[in-house]
Amino acid sequence: MTLKHLLGGVLIAAVAIAVIGQSNAYLVYVLSMAGLTAVVGIGLNILVGLTGQISLGHVGFYAIGAYTVGILTVSHGISFWLALPLGGVLAGLTGALVSIPALRVRGPYLAMVTIAFGFIVEQGAAEMEGLTGGWNGILGIMPPVLFGTMFGPTEIAYLVLVLMLAALAFYTLFSASPWGKALRALRDSEVAAQSIGFNPVLLRCAAFAVSAVFAGLAGGVYAAMSGFISPESFPFFESIMFLLVVMIGGADTILGPVIGAFLIVLLPEAFSWLAEYRLLLVAALLLVVLRLAPGGIVGAVTGLLPAAKARTATAAAVEVAPSSARPLVVDAIAITFGGVKAVQGVSFRAEPGKVTSIIGPNGAGKTTALNIVAGYYSPDKGNVRLGDTDLTGRRSHRVARAGIARTYQTTQLFEHMSVIDNLMIAMKHGRVGGVETVLPLATTARRRRAEALLAFTGYSGDVERTAGTLPHVDKRLVEIARALAFRPDVVLLDEPAAGLSEDDTQRVGTLLKRLADEGLTIVLIEHDMPLVMGISDHILVLDQGVKIAEGTPAAIRENPAVLKAYLGEGASAVRRAAPAKVPGDVTLMVANLSASYGASEVLRGIDLKVSKGELVAVLGANGAGKSTLMRALSGLHRPVGGQIQLAGDHLEGESADRIARRGLVLVPEGRQVFGQLSVVQNIKLGAYGRPPADLSAAVDEMLTRFPRLRERQNQPAGLLSGGEQQMLAIARGLIARPTVLLLDEPSLGLAPKLIEELYAILAALRDDGATILLVDQMADMALSIADRAYVLSGGVFVASGTPDAVRASHTLEDAYLGAAS
């Protein structure tokens, strides 16, 4: 809480006191109602704003507070001042109880649990006649008495004001405290919050309970203020109003619920002369506000304010690694998903001060292995140890607390938090205590260390910037800095160079090397071979879930098994029988195409031509931009610039479904069959955009071309083997009689024998005159059937020509395994 906040509080108090002094009894009552609604809203904001959960049952907690005060003061003569806190506590306990089923469910399921809770409280109050007075409610609840004076409407208004200011102060402190930040972290990325040691169950339960306490206290004051409560005082509709208060005012803002509450309560009063047309107007207004001010009113206003001054990190000496980091020992781990052996008996040992890399083609099981180490999956067999500590089967937040930090393939920053908060919350090691609800997370020591770490990683931007708005490379750096802030022994990195430019990749490489030099245990999964070869001390090669090689970079580069796993082996049987024909007309022409994800450019100035009846292959390592090229051509990813022409028609900027209907049909990476639909239904769907004259004949033709599919024509596609699914995906593309068929990584994750079968089919298609653009990691295979090929590396074509010419250029080995340095 800063001076600014204190001044704001004083200002609110001054305005409120002035207004209350000027108001008649009606207005004072309405203002008090607004104040109480604000208190509920501030509490609900903890749930909605900080944890991102929705409750449509908060009126239930409000009612519990109100009934506690009503029953205790009227029937038992207990003082209001004792009954009120009891009401808050009771609501809080109920909140914790309700959160138990609520924690297991999400989205609409959660909404339903809270709705049901609200109804049960309303109905329960009506039926427990002895306690609650049933439908007639409790009459004659006396206003509180203090120092012998009974509160009138004005005194109650001041009481409400005090309660509201206290709620605001608590929220302000709580929101800046480790609790508040941890809840936001959980909201932005549950996975990442767990990986810095937070227990989501505990945090959510606490948020629910605290939020309920606010509603309970407000309800208690309401009972004393109105002097009368009945089940009809707490209808379901009120819960919706509470939620609206937060959304209209602005979730995750301090003043949002206050402004929302005063609007929602005062606005209808201002229009009271409309009598029965009031609800109509309120509904219309709501719709307008929701449309025009998505971040709520406070969000809209802050959007207009000038941004705060940028602040860059101050570099300082910082201890990155513990004095003696422990090694990570993985022993024969194995896991099976639905019959697929994703990882089988993989063992390795990652030493402190060394970079240990895991490489392998797509689908080799690298990320799965990493997930087992991080505790996200529990292995079927084998174990994971950090030094002497056995971590096998521990939940991920416990693994993290033991000393393992990680980064993700797609960065998992806490996107709506500032860069420095991302780091400081990691320093909590997943532990937040009771007192810390009101202590700020940002201490001088933490701030200094966080800035030092940011400077260490080379992040030079604004430390107060919202993490989600950072350029890609900065996200990577901040994510690594966050992992360091956690003070781990081991850092697991999943493709930190993905989507980075060559220069930025080098920066990251240097940083990782420095981290190892500081004594950390670094485990790296990466496709960028120059990076892997450049910084690794030890490399592990996985293929189809099995470790096929291990050793130094030099040894791995020479290893024939590794080359085979990456490039595959070409079979001569599928070469085109006749010598390459004279190329026909150009069917697909791509000129100067570029594409990017966020700020990182993935494709630069691609020129490509495919002629009628030609089979053209695009080769390149993972991350070279092959799939992006396919996605850009098919309209799934909108290119930044350039032209795409199909038979003379411009396609750039068209939507994917229109492009497909024009005849440029993609068989996507990973098959993407519709798993719950049958084989025949999948094939029929392929014809959706370009229906043939006789659909069943066309389907039959496909089943004839792929006899294995005929055998399983009525089975759900999800039950087919990988190879069969690939054939189905191709059949689904072919039935649209595409002008050009795009094939993205058809051999991915298939056994060698199946790959050969698949390529025989592709060769047959080629011989039947189909026009095909093929992208595959299996370079030798692809070259063996292609008429022409392009080699893609770092987003540009580095070679092109006939298969023999491409082979002779030796660009392939460099593209796949990195140039020998």
């Binding site: 089923p101 339903m112 049901a116 047309y277 509904a283 309209g635 029929k684």
Partner: protein, 291 residues
């Protein structure tokens, strides 16, 4: 006897909850959104049918068509006005926006149709009764589950057998791949909301002869139907229909056996317990998370 009559009551109402809940299902699976004010759509179907039939004196089939048309159209309007703009910017405010839109139509109907609840004129389906195991039953009571189950079967056939139905299923399972098949995903989402409105309209028109027609008639049905959809595991059409029947029967049985005092508390309590034990609904399946 008591139990038998509760079963007949429960089946009729349950099938209607199921129909409304199917409306939640179709939009949720293709777009992860629902019209939270589904009860208002149902009301619109009944009110328009009543007005065309009684107020304007046109033939019944025409009135039913008009009611279905209105509710279907309203489904489209809801998607355009209260869902699409919010989904576009990744906001969850569609939930509140559909509630607001429901409130709006409720009040518009209040001022145009009138404050007075109205009763559908008797038809042979409501003015006669027949004996079933010694129980007096109106044909309309049987008609609701028959139409409900028929529509559920037709929906299944539509999904399995027709071109557009398959396209919808494709969108449900994999949006990107569906686009690659030439399927216009936003059209499919619109279609789902239209279908959802249609189901609500059918439910409204079916229940109207047994109930009263007014601007507020759908509110409670809408909430119960949402409970049913969630209970059934909103991603499974037969689960949703079964949950509807179960909910209706549970309501009637609890009333018949233990008296009406605790019906609402028990049914909503059961919903919470069921979700605590099976977080994805009775018939739902867990979506697999990936890192």
């Amino acid at each position: 006897m008591l139990i038998l009559s509760a079963l007949v009551t429960g089946l009729g109402l349950g099938a209607m909850y199921g129909l409304l809940a199917l409306g939640f299902y179709v939009t949720y699976v293709v777009s992860n959104t629902v019209n939270f004010a589904q009860g208002s759509t149902m009301m619109l179907g009944a009110v328009v049918t009543f007005s065309v039939w009684v107020t304007f004196g046109l033939p019944v089939p025409l009135a039913i068509l008009a009611g279905l048309f209105a509710s279907t159209l309203w489904g489209l309007v809801v998607e355009r006005v209260a869902v699409r703009p919010f989904v576009r910017r990744g906001s969850e405010a569609w939930l509140m926006a559909t509630v607001a839109l429901g409130l709006l139509i409720d009040n518009i109907v209040l001022f145009t149709f009138g404050r007075d609840p109205r009763g559908m004129p008797p038809t042979p389906l409501t003015s006669s009764t027949f004996q079933l195991f010694g129980l007096n039953v109106q044909p309309q009571q049987v008609l609701i589950p028959v139409v409900g189950l028929t529509l559920a079967v037709l929906l299944t056939l539509f999904f399995r057998r027709t071109r557009h139905g398959l396209a919808m299923m494709a969108v449900v399972q994999n949006q990107a791949a569906a686009r690659l098949m030439g399927i216009n995903v936003s059209m499919v989402v619109s279609g789902a909301f239209a279908l959802s409105g249609f189901f609500a309209g059918v439910a409204g028109i079916l229940i109207a002869p047994l109930f009263t027609v007014s601007s507020t008639m759908g509110t409670m049905f809408g909430i119960k139907a949402f409970a049913v959809a969630i209970l059934g595991g909103i991603t499974n059409p037969w689960g949703v229909m079964c949950a509807g029947l179960l909910y209706g029967i549970a309501e009637a049985l609890i009333t018949a056996l233990f008296g009406s005092t605790y019906t609402q508390i028990s049914t909503f309590g059961l919903v919470i317990v069921a979700l605590a034990l099976r977080p994805d609904g009775l018939f739902g399946t867990r979506e697999v998370k990936k890192v």
